[in-house]
């Protein structure tokens, strides 16, 4: 019996379980405790009356959001930006890791790694400042375009460019950092498999498709599931730093909307209703992707 097993285990490893307590407490206090605050999504929250003192309003805030003018747009933008991030951002570090793996020159490999993961450590505010300065009508990017005879455009004022700017700069910033985990997974592959493949006459390409990629597949799948689970959480910081009314159309995602309405316009209840809705979708996505992965791949989070 599994439960019986647990009790026996506790008796056996008392000290280990005692060491687990702080971790559990951390989650209870900082992650599950605040969850009761989600109730304000169903209340007409006034800070001075407190969470319990405020009036219940049921699903009114959800209704306002669902029927509001920005419901579909924020959902669409959130999904599209996440999707682009997933399609372009997720494979990028894998590709870079595979390429680096083929490089035999250690010095070159290390240089490339250092250069590519450096942007990860620059603060987002600075990154966005750089992006702005580079893409204004007399910025570097436009100078290059004008040099080749193209027309100057202020990229951050063009709704049609927002997602490309957002996703491509995201890839640039995180590609190097992302490779680290895959490179680690690569070192875990048994060298004998390569030897065996070589004996069977596999070239470098065949080695990669038949040994390397399957070798890091479990890592890829796990990270993919986690990424899908976070899909609706497009970070609002970068959006807010880069968008403006001219690009709301393609840039305004659920989290930036929540920020505007909630913190700026003081509508805590409404914004937590939207946030709650967002989390529910995330939860569903996570469950689904895990289920799919277990079904087709035998790899899953749980």
């Amino acid at each position: 019996m599994p439960t019986f097993g647990i009790f026996r285990d506790i008796r056996k490893n008392k000290l280990l379980y005692v060491m687990l307590i702080p971790v559990l407490l951390y989650y209870v206090v900082f992650h599950y405790g605040p969850m009761y605050g989600a109730i304000i999504a169903f209340k007409d929250f006034s800070p001075r009356l407190g969470i319990w003192g405020s009036d219940w309003v049921g699903f009114e805030h959800f209704q306002t959001f669902f029927t509001g003018p920005y419901f579909w747009r924020t959902i669409k933008n959130t999904v599209l930006i996440s999707l682009y991030q997933l399609v372009f951002g997720f494979p990028a570090p894998i590709l870079l890791a595979l390429l680096l793996n083929e490089v035999k020159q250690a010095l070159f490999k290390r240089t490339v790694q250092t250069i590519t993961y450096m942007p990860h450590f620059i603060s987002l505010v600075v990154i966005c400042g750089i992006i702005k300065d580079f893409t204004v009508s007399d910025g570097v990017v436009n100078d290059v375009i004008a040099f080749f005879g193209g027309e100057r455009t202020t990229f951050l004022l063009e709704p049609s460019f927002f997602r490309s700017v957002y996703v491509s700069t995201g890839v640039w910033q995180h590609i190097g950092w992302g490779t680290i985990i895959f490179l680690a997974a690569l070192t875990g592959i048994d060298q004998e498999q390569y030897e065996a493949a070589k004996i069977d006459g596999a070239g470098r390409w065949k080695q990669m498709t038949n040994v390397t990629i399957p070798g890091i597949m479990p890592t890829i799948i796990i990270l993919l599931i986690l990424d899908i689970g976070r899909m609706m959480n497009v970070g609002f910081e970068k959006i807010i730093l880069l968008y403006n009314p001219g690009t709301y159309e393609t840039a305004d995602v659920i989290s930036s909307y929540v920020y505007r309405v909630g913190l700026q316009d003081f509508n805590y209840s409404f914004s937590s209703a939207v946030g709650l809705f967002n989390s529910v979708i995330n939860f569903i996505l996570l469950i689904c992707s895990n289920w799919l992965s277990r079904k087709f791949n035998d790899t899953s989070l749980w």
């Binding site: 006034s46 800070p47 306002t64 004022l157 009314p245 001219g246 309405v261 913190l263 509508n267």
Partner: protein
């Protein structure tokens, strides 16, 4: 579990305190009324505090710190002004300052934290995005701040006297139901107009052009700036949710980029006026021809604007009197001695017309006014401390600083000393910020001037020549608690949509033919309700 019970009993105790204070508040309202009757007003009021007040208590205050001062000391208490104020009033105050540019977010968090300081300097009654949502009546109902009637009556003789003398001011700083809610920053009469269009005079002279007065003349001038001076953004302005060009050019079409009062005294929402389409068409044309800054929507901080003006990419803008014009002249002249900015009148369509609207503020500046928080255990002391700023001595300190140090009396006129005006390292504003409180609840002195150039003195006159008094919607109209709930729901969506469409129309991303569609969309979003609420509130305000 124990914690929960504690919290509950604590909140019960708190609600009892709050409830009793409401009762006190109500009863005092009556006293307030009776004192307004002729018989009572003749009677001597309470003597008020004797300064310095001898007290062991100290106060806490949440207020913005002047950006100039912040570069000298991190806290107001450490500035010469703060120390002098403590000495003169005898009250020790612990100040907390929000980070620059984040006062709104930090204020909202402060309110949510439920631990309020004794006094809070914020926009309590000015409406708009930077104000307490729902207005002062809601703030009182939420127990965030106290109604001040009784306290002013008993502890604040200086302010009380001012309110009795100035009925207009009195009207501004109370709610419809007669509650006073804040200690106001009172602007002197010559401090009401401080923003408007300005233009490079040295360029005009060079091109043999006059300061433009009509929209057509502006077009000629901007075109010349672009073609003959090579300006990449002939007109630029700061952009933060509202494009600052609204004051300059939209008014020419007899509308505004916001709520305004029309000639019949009716509240109107400018952005859906038919004339607004003409204004948009103009801005759109200018944008397309490169007369308007191509990147205008990205100019969210003054840095971008400074760069454009100082690098000769722009020749005209809309800006502040000292923080803009004065500062740019200062820096500009260092690079190019000929650099000269002059004020241009708010343009009109026909020559000789008087501008429909322009910038004009009110005596009462709600953004820098202090309220006493609902939690304050030292409300009486706080009020006594605040009232000092309206006394003769206090007013001198707040406006001019420390006598003999930052100012001297010259023929009975307080005049800044050379230490302040001719400092080698720092400019006037930076020096003044250490010795006075540039913004805050006190009585402004018309003898104080930050102007360092004659162009600034002229600017005040030129920008003042508008009908703004008639058309600007008073900031101090107060919707009821119910109304403000409704407003909160409607305003965000409408404002956000309007702003988005405004930028798109100007940039040519949305065909101007869609204007009617845009208007009906805003109507669907409930603009009529918002207009009605504002109208009702205005009517009540007029009846106060």
């Amino acid at each position: 579990m124990g914690k929960y019970v504690n919290k509950k009993s604590f909140s019960m105790a708190l609600s009892f305190v709050v409830a009793s204070s409401v009762i006190v508040g109500c009863s005092t309202q009556e006293t307030g009324k009776s004192s307004a009757s002729p018989k009572a007003s003749g009677a001597p009021t309470a003597a008020g505090a004797v300064y310095p007040i001898s007290t062991q208590e100290s106060l806490t205050s949440w207020e913005g710190i002047d950006t100039n001062l912040a570069s000298f000391v991190p806290n107001l208490a450490e500035s010469p002004f703060g120390q002098q104020l403590e000495k003169e009033t005898g009250v020790k105050v612990k100040y907390t300052h929000p980070a620059d540019g984040q006062s709104k977010e930090q204020f909202n968090l402060l309110i949510a934290s439920n631990k309020l300081p004794d006094v809070i300097e914020y926009n309590w009654g000015g409406g708009g995005a930077m104000a307490y949502p729902g207005g002062p009546e809601k703030a009182i109902a939420d127990k965030v701040i106290l109604p001040l009637n009784a306290l002013i009556d008993k502890q604040a003789p200086n302010l009380k006297k001012l309110l009795q003398q100035d009925k207009e001011l009195d009207k501004m700083i109370k709610t419809d139901s007669g509650n006073y809610y804040a200690f106001p920053m009172i602007r002197p009469d010559n401090g009401l107009v401080f923003r408007g269009p300005m233009i490079r005079k040295d360029w005009l002279d060079e091109l043999n052009l006059q300061v433009p007065q009509t929209i057509d003349e502006w077009y000629t001038v901007l075109k010349a700036f672009k073609e003959k001076k090579g300006a990449s953004a002939p007109f630029t302005a700061l952009y933060s949710n509202e494009l600052n060009i609204q004051d300059a050019f939209i008014g020419a079409f007899k509308t505004a980029n916001r709520f305004y009062i029309d000639d019949q005294g009716k509240v109107k929402y400018g952005p859906i006026d038919p004339q607004f389409k003409d204004a948009l068409t103009l801005l759109r044309k200018w944008y397309a021809e490169g007369l308007l800054d191509k990147d205008f929507a990205l100019n969210t901080d003054s840095k971008a604007l400074d760069n454009k003006l100082m690098s000769d990419s722009a020749g005209a803008t809309v800006g502040l009197l000292s923080g803009g014009m004065g500062r740019w002249m200062d820096t500009g002249k260092k690079k190019n001695p000929k650099f000269q900015l002059v004020a241009a009148p708010y343009p009109t369509l026909k020559k000789g017309e008087r501008a429909f609207i322009g910038q004009r503020d009110f005596k009462y500046n709600p953004a820098a006014s202090k309220a006493v928080s609902g939690d304050s255990k030292n409300a009486e002391l706080a009020v006594k401390w605040l009232d000092y700023a309206y006394s003769e001595k206090g007013s001198l300190l707040f406006n001019f600083g420390i006598e003999g140090d930052s100012y001297k009396m010259v023929n009975n006129v307080p005049t800044f000393t050379e230490k302040i005006t001719k400092n080698e390292k720092f400019n006037l504003q930076q020096m003044v910020s250490q010795y006075t409180k540039p913004n805050g609840p006190f009585l402004g002195d018309s003898r104080k001037s930050f102007n360092t150039f004659k162009e600034q003195d002229e600017a005040i006159k030129i920008w003042g020549e508008t009908d703004a008094v008639k058309h600007v919607l008073p900031l101090f109209i107060t919707p009821t608690v119910e109304e403000s709930k409704e407003l909160a729901k409607l305003n965000t969506a409408i404002g956000s949509y309007k702003e988005e469409m405004f930028v798109k129309f100007v940039m040519g991303k949305e065909p101007i033919e869609k204007f009617d569609e845009y208007v009906s969309r805003i109507k669907e979003m409930g603009i009529d309700k918002v207009v009605k609420i504002n109208q009702d509130a205005l009517d009540r305000y007029n009846k106060r």
